[in-house]
Symmetry: C2
Subunit: 250 residues, 2 copies
């Protein structure tokens, strides 16, 4: 009940990001419960990433606004439990991005177009740095959703994107030498699609994007088809567990 009260305050915006909660003794008094009970509530909120708790002087429980990252982990765990293959998630991303490109090509706004062209430019600038290049590529896909006038779909896209990043292995695969040529070609496609969107060439833009996404999935499939990697499932736990094993020394 205490966790729910605090959580409600955070979601409603009464408690803002970075706000410091009173110390445990004060909270114990305010809610009229004992310390162990209060701590169970704080632990719940910490696990849900609504609080960030540190110990020491003049610190304590700090309010953390829910981020896409934390929501993505929950969804990712669910997908993992459902034994969903990673390729399936990529296909879902495709289904979400196609109508977004259509919408954007039909009626973009000047401000959005500026941001698209800035993103393309940013990709060009980091072309030498391989890590940054891939991050910029992911950002470009997200930007398209963000500009496409549906916040729910943008959030769903970000969640699934987050799941793939948390799962991590696909991104790792992109770093493999055999993938580099393809990834570099992707940047040019991004440039082209922006040009088509600007010209309101709806069908051409959609078609190019569809081919682009199919190429991305096929690239991952090809790299994935190494022995032992077939039908790789979503796996967001393995990475968390590395840290765990370390701290538990098992």
């Amino acid at each position: 009940l205490i966790a729910e009260r605090l959580r409600s305050q955070i979601i409603r915006g009464e408690l803002e990001d970075g706000d410091l909660l009173p110390n445990e003794a004060t909270l114990v008094e305010r809610f009229g419960v004992s310390r162990p009970t209060l701590r169970e509530a704080l632990r719940i909120l910490e696990s849900e990433r609504f609080l960030k708790i540190t110990r020491g002087s003049r610190v304590g429980a700090q309010v953390a606004t829910p981020s896409e990252h934390s929501a993505a982990r929950y969804v990712g765990r669910y997908l993992q439990f459902k034994r969903v293959p990673v390729i399936d998630v990529h296909e879902a991303l495709t289904a979400i991005e196609i109508p977004a490109v259509r919408e954007l090509a039909s009626n973009w706004k000047p401000d959005g177009m500026r941001r698209l062209e800035a993103a393309v430019l940013a990709e060009k600038n980091v072309d030498a740095d391989w890590t940054a290049a891939i991050a910029a590529g992911i950002d470009f896909h997200r930007l398209i959703l963000e500009l496409a006038e549906n916040r729910t779909l943008a959030i769903m896209h970000a969640l699934l994107d987050g799941v793939i990043i948390a799962s991590g292995r696909d991104i790792g695969r992109m770093f493999q030498p055999q993938a580099q040529t393809s990834v570099r070609r992707f940047r040019v496609v991004h440039e082209d699609v922006v040009r088509l969107i600007r010209a309101h060439e709806v069908e051409e833009a959609v078609d190019l994007w569809r081919r682009h996404l199919r190429a991305k999935v096929r690239l991952l499939e090809n790299i994935q088809s190494m022995p032992g990697h077939d039908h790789a499932l979503v796996d967001v736990l393995s990475r968390e567990e590395i840290g765990t094993a370390d701290r538990l020394s098992i």
Copy 2:
């Protein structure tokens, strides 16, 4: 760390739905921590709906497989925090369902077609019972996603559907007298779309479904446009809080 160990076991399927965990004393011994510490871990997993804890003889912590319902609440809270309007969620559902219908009309399988026709029949049978009729209507939409060969999208659809149900108000609006005629007409549309899918009339099926979804959104908008209801945001907390207030007697 303890929560993560147990959670990992549940997600990997080592602990199955309904399994009973040992009692607290045993767990304390097994993990080598004190009781308050263990309880914080159990509290985390309970809040994430991985455990269902009851007190009394011969019971205790029971493993609960993550359900769409629990995942939906998590996503719902995030949407609420982001101040997303309910209509926006409906539009996202539209974007997800359209390609699903296209895929289904292009190549359905005999088994899927059987289930579609059974769903239509089920809707016809509960036509008199208003509550059951609406539930059957929702099930029909879910079935389309389930048959459309992408599990991730089906899960996303179920999540958003769950958010709307948790938010609850839109469903309530469907019960209003002014909506009943429209909702009844929806059942006929479901029947028609199955016929078109069976006949592989792809574009016609997609077009009908697009109109159907637009009608649904418009219906909700019309009812919603009563004073004080404009741009209603996703609100999954209010319902939870009713229970809270009750138990806290505030």
